[in-house]
C-alpha cells in the first residue's frame, strides 16, 4: 500500500508466529483434502454408473461370467491394511520431529506400496472379465483402474519422499508433508475397502 491517504497503524507483530505447522493448520493439508474430495467423489460417481448399468442385466455379473476371484484381491487388501502401520508411524514420527524414525518407517511404507501396485495388475485380471466384453466389465475395470491411478500417484509420492529423505537435506516442512502423505494414504486405502466389498465380494452376496 503506497497510499499516501492512509497512514498505517501497527497493532501487532507476527514475527513470533511459527513458519511450519501440522495438520489442518497447513495449506498443504487443505490441498490434500481438496484432492481427496475430488477423487473420492469421482469414485462415488463411477460407482453410481456401475449400479445404474446393473438395471440392464438380469444377473450382475452377467450370466456365464465367473465371479471375480478373491485370492489376489484379498491378499492385496491385507497388504493395504498392513501398510497403515508404517503410514501411521511415519505421521507420528513427523509430528514428533523425529526425522530418523520418519526415514526408517518410510522404507516399509514404500515397499508395501510397491507390492500393492504390482498386485493391482493381477487384481484387474481377477475380475475374470475383459473391459470390452460388456458394460459390466467396462464399469468394473474403470473402477479398479481409476483407483489404480490414485495408488500410482500416492505410492509414487511416497517413494519420492523416501528417496528425498534418504538422499538430501530437507527443509522442516518436509516433515509436515510426510504427515500429509500418510493422510492421503489413509484415504487411498480407505476408499478401496468399499470398492473391494462391492466389486469382489458383492457378486457373491447380492
Amino acid at each position: 500500500m503506497t497510499n499516501a491517504d492512509r497512514p498505517l497503524r501497527p497493532e501487532g507483530d507476527v514475527s513470533a508466529l511459527p513458519t511450519v505447522v501440522f495438520g489442518s493448520r497447513s495449506l498443504m493439508w487443505w490441498g490434500t483434502l481438496g484432492f481427496m474430495t475430488i477423487e473420492g467423489w469421482s469414485i462415488a460417481l463411477l460407482l453410481v454408473a456401475y449400479f445404474y448399468l446393473r438395471q440392464n442385466f438380469v444377473d450382475y455379473p452377467p450370466a456365464r461370467t465367473p465371479f471375480p476371484s478373491l485370492l489376489v484381491p484379498t491378499i492385496n487388501l491385507g497388504i493395504m491394511l498392513l501398510s497403515f502401520v508404517p503410514a501411521v508411524l511415519v505421521a507420528r514420527a513427523a509430528k514428533r520431529l523425529d526425522t530418523a524414525a520418519v526415514k526408517l518407517w518410510l522404507l516399509p511404507f514404500s515397499a508395501l506400496g510397491l507390492a500393492i501396485l504390482v498386485l493391482r495388475w493381477w487384481e484387474l485380471w481377477a475380475l475374470n472379465i475383459r473391459w470390452d466384453t460388456n458394460a459390466y466389465g467396462s464399469a468394473a475395470w474403470v473402477l479398479v483402474g481409476f483407483h489404480a491411478s490414485l495408488l500410482l500417484l500416492d505410492v509414487g509420492d511416497t517413494i519420492g519422499l523416501t528417496t528425498f529423505f534418504w538422499t538430501r537435506p530437507l527443509p522442516p516442512k518436509a516433515l509436515s508433508d510426510a504427515a500429509d502423505n500418510s493422510f492421503y494414504w489413509y484415504f487411498t486405502v480407505g476408499i478401496w475397502i468399499p470398492l473391494y466389498l462391492i466389486l469382489y465380494l458383492g457378486p457373491r452376496i447380492f
Binding site: 498505517l8 501497527p10 497493532e11 513470533a16 495449506l27 487443505w30 473391459w131 500410482l152
Partner: protein
Amino acid sequence: MSAEHSGEHDALIPAPQPPLPARATLPDDLLASEHEHLDALWSDGRGFWAWVTTVNHKSIAKRYIVTAFLMFIAGGLEAGAMRLQLSHPDAGVMGPDRYNQIFTTHGTTMMFLFAVPMMTAMGLYFVPLLVGARNVAFPRLNAFGYWCYLVGVVFLYVSLALNMAPDAGWFSYVPLSGPQYSPGHRIDVWAQLVTFTEIAGLIGAINIIATTFKLRAPGMSLNRIPIFVWSELVVSFMIVFALPAVALGSTFMLGMDRTVSTQFFNPAEGGDALLWQHIFWFFGHPEVYIIFLPGMGMITEIVEVFSRRRVFGYTAIVLANITTGFFAFGLWVHHMFATPIPELGQSLFTAASMVIAIPTAVQIFCWIATLWTGRPRFTTALLFILGFFFTFINGGITGVMLASVAFDKQVHDTFFVVAHLHYVLLGGAVTPLFAAFYFWFPKVTGRMLSERLGKWNFWLFIIGVNVTFFPMHLLGLDGMPRRVYTYLRETGWGPLNALVSAGAVIIVTSVIVFLVNVAISYRRGALAGDNPWGSYGLEWATASPPANYNFLYPVVVRSRHPLWETAVELPVLTGLSTERREVLVTTTVDARPDHRHDDPTASIWPLALALCMAVLWIGSIFSPYVVLWALLISTPVLIMWSRQAMRVTTTERVQRPNGEMVEMAQA
C-alpha cells in the same frame, strides 16, 4: 451496520519491536524501504523467462482473462458464421459438416473455454486482493492450471483448422458421438479437451477454497468476507463436485468406448445411452450456475458501491448463494424430459427447477432494496447492472416455464431453449462481467475506461441481445428445432431468422466498441489512483495496479466494509519477512493469525508438467501406449518440481501439534 466483535489481540501476537508510542503510524521512510525490499522479493523477473515461470496470481489471472476473452470473441465469430448460414433458408454459406463443427465449437468454446475459465480467473485475480492476501494458496499449481487450459485452447482450434473439430454438439450425446457413428478423432478431441479444462477448473477451485479459508486478513471472519468472495467460494465447491462427472464421462467412458472398446454406451452389451445424459447433465446443470453465480457476486459489489450504501440483506444473500449452489445439483433431469424417464421422477425435477428461482429472487429483491434506498451513480458499471435486470429476469421466467414438463416437451430442443439459455448466460453472466470490467479495470491497469464509449458499449449490447434472442422464442414455438444447418422456405422461419442475424451484428459492434475502449484506455485513460470509486473493499487499499506483493502489511479487518469503516488510519500487523516471500495464514473461521507460510518463487515446472499432460491426453487418442510414455516423461518433471519445493533455505520455527515450538534449519 458493522456490529461484530472487535479485534482482541491474540496472545500469539506480541507487540511490535521496539514498542511504538500508542496510535503511532508507520513512518514514510520505513514504508518506502519495505516497498523496495518486497517489490524486489516478489518480482518474478522480466522477459520471456519470467513470463513462463511466474507464479504471481495477478499475472496468471490476467493471462486467463485475456485468453478467455479471446475465446469469447472466437465463440462469437462462430456464432456469426452460424447466423450468416441461418439468415435465410438454404443460404448455402456452408454445408452440414462444417456447420456441425462450427456449432459444436461455439458451444464448447463458450461453455468450457470462456465462461468457467473467465469466472475462475476473476476469482484468481480478485479473491486474494479482496481477502487481503498476497497470493493464492498454491501459486505453482495455479500456473500449471493455466498452462493446461491453454493447451486445451490450442488443441481445439488447431483441430478446427485441420477440419477435425468435434461435430456432435457441446453435449456430445451417444450413440451419435460413439465409435460407430462418429469414426475418426473429432470426438476424441472433444473428450480430451474437456478433461484439460476440467483440470484447470478444479485447480482454480482448490486454490480459491484454500485461499478463502486460510489466507484472509486478520480479523476478516467468515461473516465479514465480501459477497463476491462468497460467490466464488460456493462456485468452487460446486466445481469440485460437478466437473469430475464430465471429466469421467468424457475421457473414461466415452473416450474409452471410442479407443479401447469399453461398452458403457452400447445397448447391445448392456450399455446405456441415457447413462451418458445423466452423467453429462449432472455436470451440465451445475455448470450453468457455476457460470452465473460469480456474476451475482459481482452485482452485489457494484450495487453497493454505486448506491453508496451497504447492501441490504448480506446474510440473506450469502444464504441464497449457498442454497442455489446446493439446489443446482438437483435439477439435471430437466434436460431429459423428452426421454423415457418415469413421470413421477420428472415431476420432482420440475419442482426443484422452479424452487431454485426463489433464492435467486431473494438476491434480486435485496439489490432492488439497496438501490431504492441508496443514491445511485450512473456509471457504465451500474448501467450494465440495470441491463442485467432487464435481460436476466426474462431468462429466469422462461426458465420457470421450461421447468414445466408438459410445456418443455413442446419446446425442448428448439430455438425457445436457445433464447432462454442466451438470456440467462448473456444477461446473468456476461452483463455483470462487463460491469465488473468497468468497475475493476482501473484497479488492474491503473487507468479508467472511457465512460462515453462505455455507454455506447452498454446500449448496443442490450439492444443487440434482445433483437437477437427475443425472436428465437417465437421460432421455437413455431417448430424450429436446434442444431439445424438450414431450413426450408416453406416453414416460414425466414423473416425472423433474418432479424436474429441482424441483431447478432449489433452485438458484434458492441464488443468491438468495448475492445476499442480497452485499447485506448489502456494507454491513455484517465489515471485511476488507488480508489477512484470510493469503494470499501481491501483491493482498493492497494496501488493501481497493485504491487507485486499486493499489501505492504496485512490489514486488520473489523467489519464487512473495511475502507468505509476505518478512520483515516488503517490498522496493520508488522512482522512478515522481507528476506523471503511470506504470507500470513489465519484460522479458518475467525481469521486469527496462525502462522507464516513460505510462498513459492518462480518455476518452469508447471509449464513442463502441463506439456507432459498434453502428451498424455492428446497422444492417448492415437494410441493407448502413449499413456506409458507420458508417465515416463512426467516422472522427472515431478521430481524436479518437488526438488525445487524441498530446498533448504532458512531456519524455520516449527510448531508441533502439542504446541511446542522448535527452531530447525532442516528436517
